[in-house]
């Protein structure tokens, strides 16, 4: 049970408060970008390339211009007049806004049609005729590095190949030496598939440029409104859009998951058009465009190796990655981390050395990749370590749970320095796995499995014991385009003791309006229901880097706690003044200061706040407001122990996830109900790439599953009954001991499922299957082993 320090009426940390935001959502009263309608608003639709790689010979807009309601067709050449046809990516690569001569991937923006209605814009789009000269695309990332491969980025002066960057970390020499002499070495090539966040709300914006005031209001689907404002100023400053003339508003967001961090060409085109015509321009992608053109996630080809002793002690790991970035490196990583935080791939295990290397390549596919509910490439890292750990267990003939227990970093060894340079803040991995094993009756399952195997039935048990790395991040290492990755909170308490607090983050469904209020309630004793939370408007909220990578609680949540503590210090001074005692004679309990030894002499926080406006001590600033920009001293390292049980139909390959136990440790929990909801959603987005989702391209670069008919987003029907629980190991450096939880389940679930399926098939000598593991894939693998 979670201990609460505050009463239910205050509703601080640990209370399962109902989500404040849900009132409007369940009544259909949310306000999304597409709900915004402005007088005189124009609509934009985008003509997209049918080919993965082609020269544009001609764009004929004559017929489109004849469609009633169409007012303009905008091409790359039009934008080039204002030098707005290119833009930087978050990784300091470059990307076309609209092409002037060549298209680099299927569904790339070719030109934009502007019209007086959404329907006219689409009719106009259908009427635009584009002549292309097809070229042979580069699709396979390994072939992209062949010496004879066509060089794709001819726009980059002097570029002679398709290689983007090389990254390495760890001690190569030491690691290689351990591998040379180790008893047991296992090696596995694996692909973490290219997937899509497929949020229910697609991307879009309303760009509203006021020609008289020289001011742009940009309503858009963004997870990081402040950073976007800065990016717009950097991209369009030369045409007069300097930062004080830009207001970015991120209204209600229907799911982000990392896909709403990047700046997509559509946003920039809409701004350019609004700037040119002086009218608001709305652009809303349809589902197909969203799936086919917006940033993908993952797409890492990984060779994982593990060396150890024959009795199961892990000694070293090696990882080699080939990262397929598509046409440009449009990842959304912190600037200094081009593989994100992949170096967490050493995992939850205590061993001395590791070496990791990655190369990134350009191909004729859409650009990416975003951190899909994953703190920058952690999903890839966790899959690699958890799969190779299972392979190692198989090789040494040990039960995978036992082998993990044997190798875990011990509770008392935290803070723990990893071979790749991280300092894990805290953890209790043994307790987590034990709790999961007890919850699922691990021993009983292994017994049942042995009996089933005698009868030829396929049952598998898979474990994943992962360490996450979230809360980016400390300013010494973490920035995006130079802006440090702090985050902010500003609290204003009104004279009657009710508050508004504003943040630099932006909820997309995480429940910030509830959880931030609970943090402030915990610290100040003002009831959470009396604290209004606002985010997403750059004119009013303090600057912050936004919400992704499970960073909101570790950064902005901490900022809220620290700002509230500043206010509590002020409250103490006012209380001392009102009660005519010294500050040291006061005792705090949530919502009240009282005199030590005389509890009847007290002042509530509401009385104190009122006094701050009506009767504050001479010499003290009036009012009750605080702001804090929180720069975390370290990242936080949530962890989890997941166990999955599957039954596999030998004849059809069908996989039934019979049980799934998830024990998470995200430190102190703010709202248990919201955490559970986050875990349920995250696990479902974990089963997705494990069994269903992958963006598939043919050799010509055509996407083969660009609609939700074939891109298989799992539903409630596919979701097993999630059995959740937790251990609590607070972060020692975080003001409220919280770690962040949004991503853990998405990161931790895929290897648990993959390990379970491979375990089911292991009697037939099957040691690995790449995700997504589909019935067809299972059937094929069994056929290849001659199983009837």
């Amino acid at each position: 049970m979670i201990q609460c320090k505050t009463s239910k009426a205050i509703g601080g940390m640990g209370h399962s408060l109902k989500r404040k935001e849900d009132d409007r959502f369940i009544q259909g009263k949310g306000n999304y970008v597409d709900d915004i309608k402005l007088p005189g608003m124009l609509y934009m639709d985008i003509v997209r390339s049918p080919y993965a790689y082609a020269k544009i010979l001609k764009i004929d807009s004559e017929a489109a211009m004849k469609v009633p309601g169409v007012v303009a067709v905008i091409t790359g050449k039009d934008l080039a007049q204002y030098n707005l046809h290119w833009m930087p990516t978050l990784m300091s690569d470059t990307q076309m806004v609209l092409p002037t001569d060549t298209v680099m991937y299927q569904a790339q923006e070719v030109c934009a049609v502007i019209a007086t209605s959404r329907y006219a814009a689409r009719d106009g789009r259908e009427a635009v005729r584009v002549e292309y000269e097809k070229m042979k695309p580069v699709i396979d990332p390994y072939k992209a590095l062949d010496p004879g491969a066509p060089v794709l980025r001819t726009d980059k002066e002097g570029k002679k190949d398709n290689h983007i960057w090389n990254w390495k970390v760890g001690d190569k020499e030491k690691t290689d030496k351990v591998f040379e002499t180790a008893d047991v070495v296992v090696k596995q090539q694996m692909h973490i598939p290219r997937i899509h966040v497929a949020s229910i709300e697609t991307c879009g914006c309303v760009a509203d440029y006021d020609k008289v005031k020289h001011h742009l209001t940009m309503y858009m689907t963004t997870q990081a409104p402040h950073a976007i404002r800065t990016v717009i100023a950097l991209v369009a400053g030369h045409v007069g859009l300097s930062e004080e003339r830009i207001r970015v508003v991120s209204p209600d967001i229907g799911g982000g998951f990392g896909g709403k961090v990047p700046v997509y060409p559509g946003y920039v085109i809409a701004i350019a058009v609004s700037f040119l015509v002086g009218k608001p321009v709305k652009w809303i992608e349809d589902r197909t465009e969203n799936l086919q053109a917006d940033s993908f996630a993952r797409d890492y080809h990984i060779t994982a190796e593990m060396a150890g002793t024959k009795d199961g002690k892990i000694l070293a790991t090696r990882f080699k990655v080939l990262a397929d970035h598509g046409y440009t490196d449009a990842s959304a990583n912190p600037s200094k981390f081009n593989t994100g935080l992949f170096s967490i791939a050493t995992g939850s295990y205590d061993y001395g050395t590791s070496f990791m290397e990655a190369d990134a390549v350009y191909t004729n596919k859409p650009p990416g990749g975003v951190a899909y509910r994953c703190s920058f490439r952690v999903t890839e890292a966790v899959h690699a370590i958890e799969r190779i750990t299972d392979r190692f267990a198989l090789a040494v003939g040990k039960d995978p749970a036992e082998l993990r227990m044997q190798n875990f970093i011990k509770k008392e060894d935290f803070p723990w320095k990893s071979p790749t340079g991280w300092t894990y803040d805290s953890g209790d991995y043994h307790a987590g796995l034990q709790k999961a094993m007890d919850a699922i009756d691990y021993a009983g399952l292994r017994k049942e499995q042995a009996e089933k195997r005698k009868k030829g039935e396929l049952m598998g048990i898979g474990i994943s014991t992962f360490t996450e790395i979230v809360g980016a991040g400390p300013s010494k290492d973490f920035d995006i385009l130079g802006i440090k990755m702090f985050d902010s909170a500003e609290i204003r308490v009104h004279p009657t003791g009710k508050a508004i607090a504003r943040f630099g983050t932006k909820s997309q469904g995480q429940g910030h309006e509830t959880t931030y209020a609970q943090i402030i309630a915990e610290e100040l004793g003002i009831p959470a229901e009396n604290i209004q939370i606002e985010e997403g408007d750059t004119d009013t909220a303090p600057y912050g880097l936004g919400t992704y990578a499970s960073r909101s609680t570790p950064t902005a949540g901490a900022a809220a706690a620290v700002a509230a503590r500043k206010l509590r210090d002020k409250a103490r001074k006012i209380a001392a003044y009102l009660l005519e005692v010294s500050e040291d004679d006061l005792e705090w309990e949530p919502g009240k200061f009282s005199v030590k030894g005389a509890p009847e002499k007290s002042k509530t926080i509401q009385e104190i706040v009122f006094a701050s406006y009506t009767n504050h001590p001479q010499g003290m600033e009036a009012g009750f407001e605080a702001v804090h920009y929180y720069d975390p001293p370290n990242l936080t390292f949530p962890s989890g122990a997941y166990i999955c049980v599957v039954d596999v139909d030998k004849e059809t390959g069908a996989i039934n996830v019979r049980r799934f136990v998830a024990i998470d440790d995200c430190g102190h929990i703010i709202n248990p109900m919201i955490v559970q909801g986050q875990v349920h959603g995250g696990l479902t987005q974990g089963i997705a790439p494990a069994m269903y989702e992958e963006l598939i391209y043919d050799e010509d670069g055509n996407i083969l599953n660009g609609t939700l008919m074939d891109y298989l987003v799992p539903t409630a029907v596919e979701s097993p009954k999630w059995e959740t629980g937790h251990t609590v190991t607070p972060s020692p450096h975080h003001p409220i001991g919280a770690k962040g939880v949004g991503e853990s389940p998405t990161v931790g679930a895929p290897p648990a499922i993959a390990n379970a399926i491979v375990d089911a098939l292991s009697p037939y000598g099957i040691t690995h299957l790449d995700i997504p593991i589909t019935p067809f894939k299972v059937w094929k693998a069994l056929q290849e082993k001659g199983v009837k």
């Binding site: 959404r118 329907y119 689409r122 009719d123 259908e126 349809d286 197909t288 004849e651 059809t652 069908a654 269903y692 598939i696 083969l704 599953n705 609609t707 008919m709 074939d710 298989l712 987003v713 799992p714 539903t715 029907v717 596919e718 589909t774 019935p775 067809f776 059937w779 094929k780």
Partner: protein, 289 residues
């Protein structure tokens, strides 16, 4: 849905609808549940100039028993089929199939008639209607006519319906006692078209032999397919494992699936075999119950 513009008509009688079809010809499409047509219009794969909405025509939505036949109105929703006590009594196969068609929201709107009239071998009802030996009733300018299910499907998205026909009813003979039926499809996720689907209805005689059998296959052939050779091997014979295995083998040989993201040709043929066996066993179980 950002479809191309179209004119919407909402006739109140069959006759009115038919005259509109006569007037607009190929430029018109009938709107029933809309769950095949509207996605195509959304993707602009279909751009009809006229939509003739038959939802306001009375007398097209019913499930009733009449003289040894169960009649299902063409406009009957999938969810009504799913929950019909009459169908549950005679045809458990409809409980199987409707649960596998899309999701509850779609089933509340989608119609049995539309599912058939679309002429798509990937839809589920064609195979089921073959197994239960249904007759399709079509009404055109010259009145009503019967089309046996085996003469209904012609080619890719093609049926025996003329452009001026409306599918008004499906009639299914009530089978004798000792009959059981079952349907299953393998799908990648809920709402997906079948990787392979098999519908079986069979009748056991007093000796436990199979006196009658219908087997239909879903999405493993360019047009909906009856597994005729498989039926032949079982009709009038005891349902031994050997016979069933042979029926399964014939079905997997006689279908003609294409490889796609659901699986290879070999996989789909193998799945047809597996499902034929399983559905026969399930139907036998139900026949005996």
């Amino acid at each position: 849905m950002i479809a191309q513009s179209f004119q919407y008509e909402s006739p109140g009688t069959i006759q009115e609808a038919i005259s509109l079809l006569q007037k607009y010809g190929d430029d018109a499409k009938i709107l029933s549940g809309g769950h095949s047509l509207l996605p195509m219009m959304k993707l602009r794969l279909a751009s009809p100039e006229y939509l003739i909405d038959i939802n306001n025509i009375p007398g097209l939505s019913h499930i009733n028993e009449d003289n040894g036949v169960v009649k299902i109105g063409g406009l009957t929703r999938e969810s009504e089929v799913e929950h019909s006590d009459l169908l549950k009594k005679y045809f458990p196969i409809f409980g199987d199939v409707t649960k596998l068609i899309a999701d509850p929201q779609v089933r509340n709107r989608g119609t049995v008639g539309g599912n058939l009239a679309h002429g798509d071998a990937a839809n589920d009802h064609p195979a089921v209607m073959m197994a239960v030996n249904a007759t399709v009733m079509a009404t055109g300018p010259d009145g009503e006519r019967e089309i046996p299910i085996d003469e209904f499907f012609f080619g890719f998205y093609q049926t025996a319906l003329q452009p001026t026909d409306i599918l008004t009813e499906i009639r299914i003979p009530i089978p004798p006692k000792g009959t059981g039926s079952a349907y299953h499809k393998l799908e990648r996720k809920v709402g997906d078209y079948a990787t392979a689907g098999v519908a079986v209805q069979l009748t056991l005689d007093a000796n436990g032999n199979c006196s009658n059998i219908g087997i239909g296959l879903t999405n493993v052939n360019p047009i909906p397919l009856r597994a005729a050779r498989s039926e032949e091997v079982l009709k009038g014979k005891p349902l031994t494992e050997e016979n069933i295995a042979l029926a399964a083998q014939y079905a997997s040989e006689d279908c003609s699936p294409s490889a796609d993201l659901r699986g290879s040709v070999e996989y789909k043929r193998a799945m047809v075999g597996v499902l034929v066996k399983r559905m026969i066993h399930k139907a036998v179980e139900r026949a005996k119950a």
